[in-house]
Symmetry: C2
Subunit: 650 residues, 2 copies
Amino acid sequence: MTTGIASTADHLRAALDGPWGAVREAARIQLADDKFAGDPYLDYRAARARVLDQMRAIATMGIAERGFRLENGGTGEPGAAVVGLEMLAYADLSLWVKAGVQWGLFGGAVENLGTQRHRDVVKRLLSLDLLGCFAMTESGHGSDVANLETTATYDPDTQEFVVHSPTPSARKDYIGGAAEHARMAAVFAQLITNGENRGVHCLLVPIRDEHGTDLPGVTTYDDGLKGGLPGVDNGRIVFDRVRVPRENLLNRFADVAPDGTYDTDIENPSRRFFTTLGTLVRGRVSVGGAAAAGARVALSIATRYALKRRQFSDPDNGQETLLLDYRSHQRRLLPLIARSYALAFAQNDLVRRMHLVQTGQDLDPGAQRALEKRAAGLKVAQTEHATRAIQECREACGGAGYLTENRLVTLKSDTDVFTTFEGDNVVLTQLVAKELLTSYSDEIRELDALGWVRFAATMAGDVVRKRSGVRQLIQTLRDRGDDTVDEADVSRRSVQLQLFADREDYLVRTAGHRLRARAEDTAPFEAFNNAQDHILAAGTAHIDRLILEEFIEGIAGIEDPAARELAETVCDLFVYSMLEENSAWFIMHRFMSVERAKAVRRGVNELVDRLRPDALTLVEGMGVPESMLRAAMLADASVFERTAHSEAPV
Amino acid sequence: MTTGIASTADHLRAALDGPWGAVREAARIQLADDKFAGDPYLDYRAARARVLDQMRAIATMGIAERGFRLENGGTGEPGAAVVGLEMLAYADLSLWVKAGVQWGLFGGAVENLGTQRHRDVVKRLLSLDLLGCFAMTESGHGSDVANLETTATYDPDTQEFVVHSPTPSARKDYIGGAAEHARMAAVFAQLITNGENRGVHCLLVPIRDEHGTDLPGVTTYDDGLKGGLPGVDNGRIVFDRVRVPRENLLNRFADVAPDGTYDTDIENPSRRFFTTLGTLVRGRVSVGGAAAAGARVALSIATRYALKRRQFSDPDNGQETLLLDYRSHQRRLLPLIARSYALAFAQNDLVRRMHLVQTGQDLDPGAQRALEKRAAGLKVAQTEHATRAIQECREACGGAGYLTENRLVTLKSDTDVFTTFEGDNVVLTQLVAKELLTSYSDEIRELDALGWVRFAATMAGDVVRKRSGVRQLIQTLRDRGDDTVDEADVSRRSVQLQLFADREDYLVRTAGHRLRARAEDTAPFEAFNNAQDHILAAGTAHIDRLILEEFIEGIAGIEDPAARELAETVCDLFVYSMLEENSAWFIMHRFMSVERAKAVRRGVNELVDRLRPDALTLVEGMGVPESMLRAAMLADASVFERTAHSEAPV
């Protein structure tokens, strides 16, 4: 890594590190200190205090500044900001969340929804002089942000907004920072002026004084213990007619004049709403990245353990067998490692796209919206992967996996909520599918919750958009080969990609048909609901296809032949295990013969066999430094490493 | 439940309560008190103390006595013991585990492996005058019990055993009670006398004095925090030549005379070993039951929440939609409820079989061994179900699901290790398959770890045993119908059972073929390992078939027509979702046409639709009293129950 000839693992790591590799390398050194690790023995109040201390140390490192524009005191490198903060996830996920709330969500709201008049707030939150929270979700509405119940009613007499929680379900809930540390909240509320509701807007509401006492009209509650993330002080906020100055409205997209006149550049309320939310896409990008980072830590721990721990002796040589030499263990861990590789490349690409859009280098009018869809899809894929992979790692390490000192259970409990926050995975998958089904028509954003169903249903003909990108990639892959493509040869990349693309096309097209068929004789909700599993499958197929494309692109960037060859095999394992998981679908829809499906299953076995000798290289390639694994059992050589076994009669 | 005409839910609950329904009913009242619930805000040391207090209260209730013979101070009702203790799982899983360690594992070892001379120990452990632990697992060996490294060497000079941990990996690990409370350990060790190793035996070793201080030669360590079960004091024990009297050997199956002569009624060391372990089957039976109980609590919470919580409005009526009215939500929860029903019936049957064997009412020579296989299989099925179901429930409740006050995360973290303890699920599935592959031949138990592979491979012809039971049941089901069976009609119970049985037969037969084919040119480990995924699939198919059979038998016992009809629909959903999950296999092996597989998928949708109106009845039928759910959000009506939604422009 630092001296001598670079190993295959080094090349893989460099590839997975992506465009901001230097940021990752610096963070590996900066964050290796024990002071950034979590301490599971602290009670939750002490854990919160510790994380706040850790944040103060982070605040001096120049990491957070990258996420802000020059004029706001930052360095204007959003890509580097996401990647740099993601590295905190290797140290402790509570720290990552808390930092993400302060600089990503709260800071991001002020930075992206505010204007010049909020510049001072950015400076203060950057240095942690001002601790904030992001008060969007309410007990009654999480996924359905448009129907939040909190109101901000403008009073022209005093030139103030009156922020109020009109119902019990309007209380802000699960808000990181609300329980203890935040002094100010970026509150999402229905803006009412001159008697008219203008929809959800965000405004800054001070909630605590400098002693941490709730300000008049504000009542905060502690959400208390959660399934994990003990260092994050989630809480509730209830507003009782709290008055804030007119200028506290984050007025980038709309403003209220002193007399109460509402003014906006985006006349369409629905477009305004989605533009507002769209600027906050970084949160979703970040959650996916951190979840995938957590999965990499867990897979590194479990694989290294499986390379030490032995159980049951092989009668032929009397040696006890390493866990990773069992087929079932290889099948448990190696496909998950392959998926981690795939997702790392996809995440790098996503961050790069986000960076180009947010720094104004990508001015394509559709880029922002495509970014939002991709961020939603990869958030789903990565958080789902984390939940599944970490669970598998825990079980694969048996009793040792259940001890907190071996970290897997902490990773598991901390990442558990990632499938929920920054967008519930089911809702996000649906969002992805909806964009596909309606070919990104602008109109659909202006429709009510299910209006898109009616829209999708009335569209003439097939709704599959031309995916010129994927078709071109398939062609390129075909051109690369020196012989013609044998459609049955699923080991060929072009065939693999074609299968993924076919599945997506077919599911999107038939979901559209189904909506249309139903819509003729039922109400939109029923039409939608009847096809919901189908719609979700279409979304998932799209996400899978994107991930494979990015894996292929990522491999193309590896120059070292040995590392590239290994990555190709990993990509095969990713593809084969995805095909195996979905083989019922492929057979049922005649995209795969039974024989091909059997070949795929055999292929998974052959691939885990082939990758077994490179398991440690693959782990090192994932780039979690050994010093950051912090699993006691990996250090406990005398207990777990045995070369011979004791004598016993059975 | 107590007055008036019994509802459908009452009838279902009575059916699921099974043969010891009265025990369950009594426990619902006895354990409803807040004092038996867990308190997640206690630190782990306080949590342990609280659980010990709870156990002292339980000790006065006559629950534990049921597990012991009359002559030992018990009432001799092992079935009632398992069921009664299982009910503790509704209150708090730490309490269940701690009680299970004391009365089930430690008590069970003394009761079942000891003799008259250990009678006083049983009496003391029953009343909690003596707290014990079950010191089997070591850091180096968990699944491979036969190769434990701890030694108990007999010294005829002093007529003592010298208990010793000869290597670092010989330390006892993850032992409940070892960290704080246990005064005595039932230690599994290689018994060496007159220079000969006689294999693993169990003996009683005092480890702490009355002040809780380690006795000379004993060093205990605290495993500290775990992924859950904070009320259980798991720890490590290292022995440095600790001497205990000869009589401390639990000598039911083998004894050492004062002069060191080894004496046993079971000459074959391997049969002795398996007989010893076999008597401890109750632990495995209990773990499955408690895991399933945890899943029922979680499903009750998540389903009740889905019947209150609304999100997104239906444009046709302006009403926000209940979560459970979404197809995707129905598909998340209802098949898991169906599986819970299936497993409840299977568990009742298992406990009944165990009761008959352990009370000497079933003297069939194969009964004990069949019981062990069934217990292993259902332990796997139920613990895996718990992990999956509780995770799904957590996610289905979104942010609220992540708050500890809503209990799902506690259920999740507490049950997580159930897939590991009392036998790792992969190893147990393999054990089930091994029995199938070798047709229960006695010989295989005497072979070394992989000797059975050689044995299975040399068996002539097919190894599928005649499953007279299942064939008869299929015939009975066919006879019941008044028309001939249409093989394609997968809605018919006999066809369903045939599909499950066909899958098992085919997998077992072909796994045998594969072992044979391989064994001709490779070593046993390679032959086994190459087929491991196949072997595991055979074990799983067998377990699935057993569960379906017991579901069918269970339904036959429901007298109320409405309840029976509902249970039949639930059984259909169980079958259809299992067929859907395995549809790739069924199609690939020509047991199902593509058309039939598509009908199955549609069938799942139709069934969740049909069961949706009965969701609450199904939850009530699972039998977790509302007072024992302890999820804050279910009481918080004003926050989650809304009938209309606020106005918003989008």
